[in-house]
């Protein structure tokens, strides 16, 4: 095991960033997939990369790993070119849409990958960390979907990397498998490694990332600690059933910045800069208001607002 990456602020100046992207651009034909990205990730950070489908997340991951060359811009992983960083075993990655070789056993695949690295993690340890210590002799053809994902995690862990890149690691996993997966991830991140993951599950970002980066149409629209990104949406939301009230009236209430029908179709959701003042005014002017609920802005709201993914039902919940 490598020692935990130094995390002292003063050290960052002399320790290269785990990820440094600058002015990154990539188009496929006329369509810009990544339209100018700058991103610095310090060693030890756990970062979630979020965005609706087509926002450029997977292209960013491909560029970062040197799988596709950028049209312009620079990529450095621990101060090195991606290809060299991968060859040196500094980076492990779990890609989307990779199926395993069906005729090989889990142990064979991992041993093969480990054999190519100079200082690999022992295969047994990688399997244990991925929660599949008992699957080494299993043929890949006989794995369930969740087991396959964890074999792929073990494959990413086996170089014993300082940076782990996961492109939608929990897509197609059931709830139990997801929980176990994040448990394994947490153990790995606790050793001071850097993790960058993309996900469609906002609750995963909220629960497991120190920092979220929101992408939209190939650019970064928000970047910061989860709380800070949620704060950009502002304040709290008051939801209530207000018989006979028109949206314009509600929007005119003090402390209300936005009024729209709530998800259930009956109530209204009032986004507030001052929820206490708004609630007092609401109850004073509309004594019939009932079923009142106050909650903090969620990452989902920040996501919808900042990425313009109006169809959250389709983009987020359905995945």
């Amino acid at each position: 095991m490598r020692p935990a990456a130094p995390m002292l602020a003063g050290m960052e100046r002399i320790t290269p960033h785990a990820v440094a992207l600058s002015g990154l651009r990539k188009s496929y034909g006329d369509r810009p997939a990544v339209a100018g990205i700058d991103l610095l990730i310090a060693p030890g950070e756990v970062v979630a990369l979020l965005g609706p489908n087509g926002a450029g997340k997977s292209t960013t991951v491909d560029l970062l790993l040197g799988l596709t060359p950028p049209d312009s811009g620079d990529i450095a992983l621990f101060g090195q070119d991606p290809r060299r960083a991968l060859a040196a075993g500094l980076v492990g990655a779990m890609l989307q849409e990779v199926t395993l070789l069906e005729d090989a056993t889990v142990g064979e695949i991992l041993t093969m990958i480990a054999s190519m690295h100079r200082t690999p993690m022992p295969v047994d340890q990688a399997l244990r960390l991925a929660g599949i210590g008992d699957l080494a002799r299993r043929r890949a053809a006989r794995l369930s979907g969740g087991q396959t994902q964890r074999v792929r995690l073990a494959m990413a862990l086996v170089p014993d990397p300082g940076l782990l890149v996961l492109d939608e690691p929990t897509a197609a996993m059931d709830v139990t498998a997801r929980r176990e997966f994040w448990h394994a991830m947490g153990e790995f991140a606790a050793t001071g490694r850097t993790v960058l993951f993309t996900t469609h599950y906002l609750e995963e970002a909220e629960a497991h990332a120190d920092r979220v980066v929101l992408m939209r149409e190939g650019t970064i629209v928000a970047d910061g600690p989860v709380g800070a990104v949620m704060a950009r949406v502002g304040g709290r939301t008051v939801t209530a059933l207000v018989p006979g009230a028109r949206p314009a009236e509600l929007l005119a209430l003090p402390g209300v910045v936005d009024a729209r029908p709530a998800g259930d179709g009956h109530r209204v959701a009032l986004r507030c800069s001052d929820s206490d003042g708004a609630l007092r005014a609401l109850l004073a002017r509309h004594p019939g208001a009932r079923d009142v609920e106050i909650r903090s802005a969620s990452l989902e709201e920040a996501f919808v607002l900042l990425t313009g993914a109006g169809r959250t039902g389709e983009e987020v919940a359905a995945r």
Binding site: S58, D62, L65, G66, L67, T68, P69, L86, A87, A88, G89, V91, G92, A93, L95, Q96, E97, V98, T99, L100, L101, D103, A104, E108, I109, T111, M112, I113, A114, S115, M116, H117, M155, P159
Partner: protein, 239 residues
């Protein structure tokens, strides 16, 4: 560093007994069938042995290379690009495995020719027939890899089958070129499979002559090698 990967690929190839058995059984079966059929037409079993050993060898090599299309389609090559394995290391290992599986069919046809059809050659003749044809299979391993890089997992078998027929029949491995009309015989001489069989034919003619075969096969090897590497380099992005 690439030793581990090569070992892994060899293990997979050796384990695939169905493929290996079929790779040997097809040319051996054809030899038994055709040696009776062609005897009446003046083609000797020894001559037929050269063609069918070449057929079995290039088919096994071509099929093995072409099967990389499936791994490519499954994203496995993208996964390997995340390892220290270089593109050259990957292609060399795949090529080596294709060559490895090309050997049993050559040996199989030579054995059945010696045991059932009474083919007798001096030691140098056998050496040329077996090892000459085997080494001459290199361009076909590369051709298979190129097909694997260009085709999708779904359509690869169509192209593979087409190439097999072209190289096998038109190359004169299944039907003697002597019976071809002149134009087709001219086409045959452009194909690498014709020259691969010529190595075997030269061995059994007693002269041991190789003629242009090594030069033609070497030229095909270089050209296909360049094409495979260029294609692999360009293929990094998702398909």
């Amino acid at each position: 560093m690439r030793g581990g990967y090569l070992r892994f690929e060899i293990r997979r190839a050796v384990r695939d007994s169905r493929f290996l058995v079929f790779a040997v059984a097809l040319p051996v079966g054809l030899f038994v069938l055709l040696s009776h059929l062609y005897q009446s037409q003046g083609a000797t079993p020894a001559y037929l042995m050269g063609g069918l050993a070449a057929f079995g060898a290039f088919k096994a090599a071509l099929d093995t290379g072409a099967r990389t299309a499936v791994e490519r389609g499954a994203g496995w090559q993208r996964q390997l690009r995340l390892t220290p394995l270089s593109g050259a290391g990957y292609l060399v290992a795949k090529g080596a495995v294709a060559m490895l599986v090309a050997l049993p069919p050559v040996v199989g046809v030579a054995l059945v020719a010696a045991l059932t059809a009474d083919v007798r050659l001096p030691f140098a003749g056998w050496a040329q027939a077996v090892f000459g044809i085997w080494l001459g299979t290199a361009p076909f391993a590369l051709l298979g890899l190129l097909v694997g890089q260009l085709c999708s997992a779904r359509n690869v078998q169509t192209y593979q089958g087409g190439l097999l027929l072209l190289l096998g029949f038109v190359g004169g491995l299944l039907i003697p070129v002597a019976s071809f009309p002149p134009v087709l015989a001219g086409v045959a001489r452009v194909l690498p499979s014709y020259w691969l069989a010529e190595i075997g034919h030269g061995a059994v003619s007693g002269s041991g002559r190789l003629g242009s075969a090594p030069a033609v096969l070497a030229a095909y090897t270089v050209a296909l090698g360049v094409a495979v590497i260029a294609r692999y380099r360009r293929d990094g992005a998702r398909g």
